[in-house]
Amino acid sequence: MTLVADLFLLLGAAFSCLGALGLIRMPDVYNRLQAGTKSVTLGAMAILIGIGLHHPQWWSNLLMIGVLVLFTNPVGSASIARAALISGIRPWHVPSEGPPLPAGEGEGK
């Protein structure tokens, strides 16, 4: 059981490290948002499962933290993406003099 828990912890830490690496390597705000949010959420879930296998008496607190991360993280990332789009940041390889963006109320206002 300890070996399985340690493997879950290693998986979660590896996904977190790869998400942070994507935060460095990606060229754009939106790509960085994808890399930095999804894989880090998966890594946090795996770390919570690993700690829950180490300490089974903490399951209620760990469940609360997992539900909190799962519910708040997509909402936060969607809010950041919407704010970046409204504040006029073009996605990667989209020319700046093209047609306006789909939610492009922020352009020129």
């Binding site: 830490a13 977190s16 490290c17 942070a20 700690i51 909190l68």
Partner: protein, 88 residues
């Protein structure tokens, strides 16, 4: 407090992730880059606090992780709303 070899490797990976996120937070070209980096760092720190509860074998750090996660979500949404209103 005993740390096995797998846990040591995983802790080093988590530290590397924190350092990479901090680099993006420092030299992000625009403000949304920094906010994305801060969001990622907050999730990493929440996972790290849960791990600290395991390392120190006391369950009070789980409550700290819960409150930190809630407050970081509120801060992320507030910062996103703030740059949304800053139309240029």
């Amino acid at each position: 407090m005993s740390v096995s070899l797998l846990q040591l490797i995983a802790l080093c990976l988590l530290a590397v992730g924190l350092v990479l996120g901090t680099i993006r937070f420092i030299l992000g070209p625009t403000t949304p880059d920094r906010i994305v980096a801060a969001d990622t760092l907050s999730i990493l720190i929440t996972a790290g606090l849960v791990w600290l509860a395991h390392l120190l074998d006391s369950s009070i750090y789980l409550s700290i992780a819960l409150v930190f996660g809630a407050l970081s979500f509120v801060g992320t949404v507030a910062l996103a709303r703030a740059i949304e209103g800053n139309r240029s």
